[in-house]
Amino acid sequence: MRVYVKFDFNKTCKTVLREQLDTLGIEYVIHGVGEVEFERPPTLLEMQKMANNLDRYGIEIMDDQQIALVQRIKDAISEWVHEEENPKKYNFSTYLSEKLDYSYTYLSSLFSETTYSSIENFIILKKIDYVKSLIINSEHTLTEIAYKLNYSSVAHLSAQFKKTTGLTPSSFQKIIQKRKERALMQ
């Protein structure tokens, strides 16, 4: 016989977390899924113990270093996107792992865990953000922008733009233009 179970992943996690934290004997509050706030800072020993206990359930304590690394990844992405003549002969993963001296797999998983997005998605987001600023601030045509940002074609750029923002580049431009006109009129 087969029994079907249904479980709330969130609830499960929280229950496990709560059980483990209770053993520490420090007052705490759980914020959402990923954050625990202690009333007093736990000692190093306590932290060690907690990390060990949680590790069994696949729960990991993140440290400040990791957060800083994520920020560095973001910075590197930003640099990569905005670089006029960036070293596009090799791909971003190599670029990033060389730059930060970590394996790309590690960086990628860390990024995905910490932010709500994958590195690839974030690159796209950054690129589209840059495309937006180019559309608004300069007289570049879409063809020029596509070339500048290393898109294979305008169609590719348009498609990615549409996928990311839900709008076509031209309707985006139209909206921003109209906003400006309205602001001028007031």
Binding site: Y4, A155, S158, A159, K162, T168, S170
Partner: protein, 859 residues
């Protein structure tokens, strides 16, 4: 010319005088120097003479001394008290004087010095001699020697004396020569220069005197002119301010004439500023002109006026720059001006009178010549009893020739019975006699045969002095036209009755209104429109006003008045109240025919009512349209809402608990879901279709490639699911509404995907061509000269060609809902979009083989 001018210029004489004076001074100085030199020469000569004298004296003394000594020696005189001692002082004195005199002349002084030495030696010798006892007998050698020595000393002294003489002599000769040369030169040059200076003096004096006399004459002449002149001549010195700009002029001189203008004598005006003397010269431009003259030195002429003591006087002024001042000459042109003006007026009057005279003359001539009347004057010819037997032409106008064919010159002087013998037969002759006798005016009309045709001639007879005047004209036309008029009248009567009927049919009334007499006439139908009997009232504004609607009365009167005043077409509408109390709307239009106003009124009551109904209906239609639109929108939107709820809750059920429900329930849930989805599609499409009804005006240049790109993006999932191979060629840019065109492609492509064949490979080919209008075989209304023909070809299930037109109809479906989901609106939307873009869409299909959709869009 320049030389002559130079010679006559007084400056030259002044220079000459200066030169002469300089010459005289030069001569004087030379003479003075000569005289001084002469004096010097004389002095040196006298000195030489003095030297000479002293030398003589000195040597005389020496000779005396020698002689005395010798004598004593010879006489053996013991008492000789050395005589040379006495002479010694004398010689020393002479030598001293000589030394004094020869001071500055070393030669002489040397000689004198030597003399002195020799003299000393002489005295020493003499002393020796004296001390030696003297024996008469023997003269010792020693003694001889001593005497010898004295002698030689004496000789030496004599030699010296001669030398000195020679020196003095040469000096004297030199002086003499010098003197002689000076004596010769000085008087000659002095005399010559003196004479020359005197000559210049005389010439200059004569010239200057001549000039002075000339100046005096000129001055006298000028004075004469200045005092006698009718012009005011003034000399004005500019007055500068601190900045060096001219602020005023000071009257330096003015002549007597000014007194007659300003009432002040020149003396009183002298050194008075111009602005004080004449108060208005700053406004009347004089000042500006004067400053200009003072600045650039170009003489100017200008007219200006002065008002003094209330009298305005005009002056013609000339201003010239003279020695930094301005010389002005002003001529009183007031009288001249007045005279000219009067003359002009007189001239004008004369011209007008002249013109009038000429006109009158021409007018009279015209009357006579061009009035197409023949005017003749004939004198009576009487027999001895005083009875009129004939008339003789004294005058006839040229028109005679046109009327009778005989020139006036051939008639004048002849008797009427001679020229036109038939006058005695047609009775005009008798009339003429009567007229001449009883002074009455007669008229006569008769037919004459002139120049090969019969003419009706009308003649008026009039007595003038002893003769009569005949005024005749050809009244053939009048007589004929009278007949024509009669015929015309008949026609008009017929036409009038037709018009009356027409008026009644067209609900038109008309009226004539003679503005001069105030008389009016109204057409029968006008009365009928007013619901009155024909000619029920006298047509006049006064009578008509009672029919005009009281509310429109002012407007009616004003419109009518302005039409008449301004003589323009009176087009206006107003209401009337008919006799039975009905309100009718009249449209009035009218215009002037000469002095008559012809007006037409039209009963437009029905038209107005119709127009009003139309307007209301139109409004209603608009309102219902808007209502429909908003209904459409609201209905669609509000219909969508509960539907969406159904869908979302179904999704919630299916996600959560579908596995727990019985199989039937699952099936039903799926069915509910698909029904809801269909309904949603239907509503969406309806909404889209109704939106197309709105006039979309915001056309812009659109790249169809981009549109297609977006569409394919949207349809990515079904394309992948069904593995459809889509080939695309380059599409053009054209003017259109982006989202409509996107919808067009979306509908057509999703159709093609939806109705694709069950067999692979599934293909869709999109192609485009630019075609000229004349090459398009498909029939539709073509406004553009060129079209893009976009074809979307698939190898899907196709359709029967007989349904090719049907598929574009609203809610037309060729398939079972179960087989293919569809709303039946998609293609209708496509058709509408293409038509919105001024194009045409059509489809060719073959069942189970595929379909081709052709879209024509204006290029």
């Amino acid at each position: 010319m320049a030389v002559k001018k130079l010679v006559t210029s007084p400056k030259v004489y002044v220079i000459m005088l200066i030169v002469a004076t300089a010459l005289l001074m030069f001569i004087g100085s030379i003479s003075y120097r000569q005289i001084v030199r002469l004096g010097k020469s004389a002095e040196s000569v006298s000195r030489i003479i003095q030297v000479d004298m002293h030398i003589n004296q000195l040597f005389t003394t020496y000779s005396q001394i020698q002689a005395t000594e010798l004598r004593y020696r010879l006489l053996q005189d013991s008492t000789r008290i050395s005589s040379h001692r006495v002479h010694l002082s004398k010689t020393m004195e002479s030598i001293k004087t000589l030394e004094e005199l020869t001071k500055g002349r070393p030669k002489q002084q040397n000689i004198i010095h030597e003399i002195r030495n020799w003299q000393d030696s002489l005295f020493i010798s003499l002393n020796h001699l004296k001390n030696t006892p003297f024996s008469k007998s023997v003269i010792s050698d020693k003694e001889k020697e001593k005497v010898q020595k004295v002698s030689s000393t004496m000789t030496q002294l004599n030699l010296l004396r001669n030398q000195l003489y020679r020196e003095e002599q040469s000096e004297l000769t030199k002086r003499k020569e010098e003197y002689a040369s000076q004596i010769n030169f000085t008087p000659l040059t002095t005399l010559f220069l003196g004479m020359f200076a005197l000559f210049i003096f005389v010439v200059s004096f004569i010239q200057i005197n001549y000039l002075r006399r000339k100046t005096a004459t000129a001055e006298k002449f000028l004075n004469g002119i200045l005092t006698e002149s009718d012009n005011i001549i003034s000399y004005l010195k500019p007055v500068y301010d601190s900045a060096g700009d001219i602020v005023d002029f000071r009257i330096a001189f003015t002549n007597e004439k000014i007194e007659s203008i300003l009432g002040k004598s020149p003396g009183q005006l002298a050194n008075i500023n111009l602005s004080d003397a004449v108060s208005i010269n700053k406004e009347n431009n004089v000042f500006k002109e004067l400053i200009q003259v003072a600045k650039d030195g170009i003489p100017r002429e200008f007219n200006a006026y002065f008002i003094h003591n209330g009298i305005k006087r005009w002056f013609k002024n000339t201003a010239t720059l003279m020695d930094n001042g301005v010389l002005t000459t002003s001529t009183d042109t007031t009288a001249e001006k007045k005279f000219t003006r009067n003359l002009k007026q007189l001239n004008k009057k004369l011209a007008v009178q002249n013109k009038a005279l000429i006109q009158t003359k021409a007018f009279l001539n015209n009357i006579l010549e061009s009035a197409s009347n023949t005017v003749s004057h004939l004198d009576t010819v009487r027999d001895t009893d005083g009875n009129i037997i004939d008339f003789k032409y004294l005058f006839t106008t040229k028109e005679t020739e046109n009327l009778t064919g005989r020139s006036s010159t051939s008639i004048i002087g002849k008797s009427i019975s001679e020229v036109f013998p038939f006058v005695r037969e047609n009775g005009i002759f008798n009339l003429m006699v009567q007229c001449a006798n009883d002074d009455s005016i007669k008229t006569h009309k008769a037919k004459y045969y002139f120049m090969g045709e019969w003419k009706w001639i009308h003649t008026t007879l009039n007595k003038l002095n002893t003769g009569i005047t005949l005024t005749s004209y050809d009244c053939t036309d009048i007589v004929t036209s009278k007949q024509e008029l009669l015929e015309l009248n008949e026609q008009l009567t017929i036409q009038n009755s037709i018009l009356k009927d027409a008026e009644a049919v067209a609900k038109i009334g008309s009226y004539h209104w003679d503005l001069a007499t105030g008389k009016a006439r109204m057409s029968d139908n006008f009365y009928r429109i007013l619901e009155c009997e024909m000619n029920e009232f006298e047509p006049s504004v006064e009578n008509y006003r009672y029919f005009v609607h009281p509310k429109d009365f002012n407007y009616f009167i004003e419109s009518l008045k302005s039409t008449i005043d301004k003589k323009h077409d009176g087009n206006f509408n107003y209401r009337i109240v008919t006799k039975s109390g009905k309100i009718k709307h009249l449209k009035h239009s009218g215009h002037f025919v000469q002095n008559e106003f012809v007006g037409v009124i039209k009963d437009i009551t029905k038209e107005l009512k119709d127009a009003q109904t139309l307007k209301e209906k139109n409004l209603e239609l608009k309102r219902s349209n808007t209502e429909l639109e908003s209904f459409n929108r609201v209905a669609s939107h509000d219909l969508q809402e509960p539907l969406r709820k159904i869908q979302i809750f179904i999704s919630r059920i299916t996600e959560e608990s579908i596995r727990n429900s019985p199989e039937k329930a699952q099936e039903y849930l799926v069915k509910i879901g698909s029904s809801a989805n269909r309904m949603q599609n239907l509503i969406r499409h309806l909404l889209a279709y109704s939106r197309l009804n709105k006039n979309q005006k915001d056309f812009s240049l659109i790249d169809l490639n981009e549109i297609l790109e977006n569409t394919l993006e949207d349809l990515e999932t079904p394309i992948k699911e069904k593995r459809v191979n889509i080939t695309v060629t380059n599409l053009p840019e054209l003017r259109g509404v982006a989202f409509q065109l996107e919808q067009l492609f979306n509908n057509l492509l999703s159709n093609a995907i939806k109705y694709s064949s069950v067999l692979e490979p599934r293909k869709i080919e999109i192609d485009c061509q630019k075609i000229k209008r004349k090459h398009i075989t498909d029939e539709f209304q073509k406004k553009s000269s060129q079209y893009f023909c976009i074809t979307i070809k698939d190898n899907g299930i196709g359709f029967d060609q007989s349904n090719a037109k049907k598929i574009f109809g609203l809610f037309e479906r060729l398939h079972q809902k179960q087989d293919y989901s569809g709303t039946g609106i998609g293609l209708a939307i496509c058709k509408k979009i293409v038509e919105n873009h001024g194009g045409h869409i059509m489809a060719d299909g073959t069942l189970n083989e595929g379909a081709v959709f052709r879209i024509y869009l204006p290029a």
